[in-house]
Symmetry: C2
Subunit: 97 residues, 2 copies
């Protein structure tokens, strides 16, 4: 059961082109470096977007050791988030609770 606030927050995470592209790239597991290079993102910017995706559970992270270095790999979780007139009915009830 979604409140308007919860649904809005999830949609907000998805409502950014950079994050959508990160999610698309991570349909297959990818390293930070790959993602950053393909999308041309600075390190702090990449991390900031990634935090939002991780917090919302849309992406998962795995650490692998390569040459003694801890390298992070990301993979988009299987999801389907819909906003429809059907779902608005729940929000309507919430207004009158």
């Amino acid at each position: 059961m979604d409140t308007a606030e919860e649904l809005a927050e999830l949609l907000r995470v998805l409502s950014n082109p950079v994050r959508l592209k990160i999610l698309a790239l991570c349909l297959e597991e990818r390293s930070s470096k790959e993602i950053r290079e393909i999308l041309g993102l600075s390190k702090p910017l990449f991390i900031s977007h990634m935090k939002k995706l991780l917090n919302s559970g849309l992406i998962s992270c795995k650490v692998k050791r390569l040459d003694g270095k801890a390298v992070k790999y990301y993979k988009t979780v299987n999801f389907e988030i819909c906003c429809s007139t059907e779902i608005l009915k729940d929000i309507l009830e919430e207004i009158y609770l």
Copy 2:
């Protein structure tokens, strides 16, 4: 066919609790006054949110004359906007175009 930018823009319109509530209230046709009173919105704020909803085509507007005054009525359009791993495949192609 959605680009990341187009999809993000539509999701951005939906990613606000006030706008979700307006959409929910307008599952049945309602006047500006009703909406504003129920949600406690100032006139300019209401108009600003409504512009975004109208521009994105999520809501429709009809003008009725009452006592010589032009009163606006809104109704949420039937819609279903999904963001899923399936849709991300289109965005992935876009990245490599």
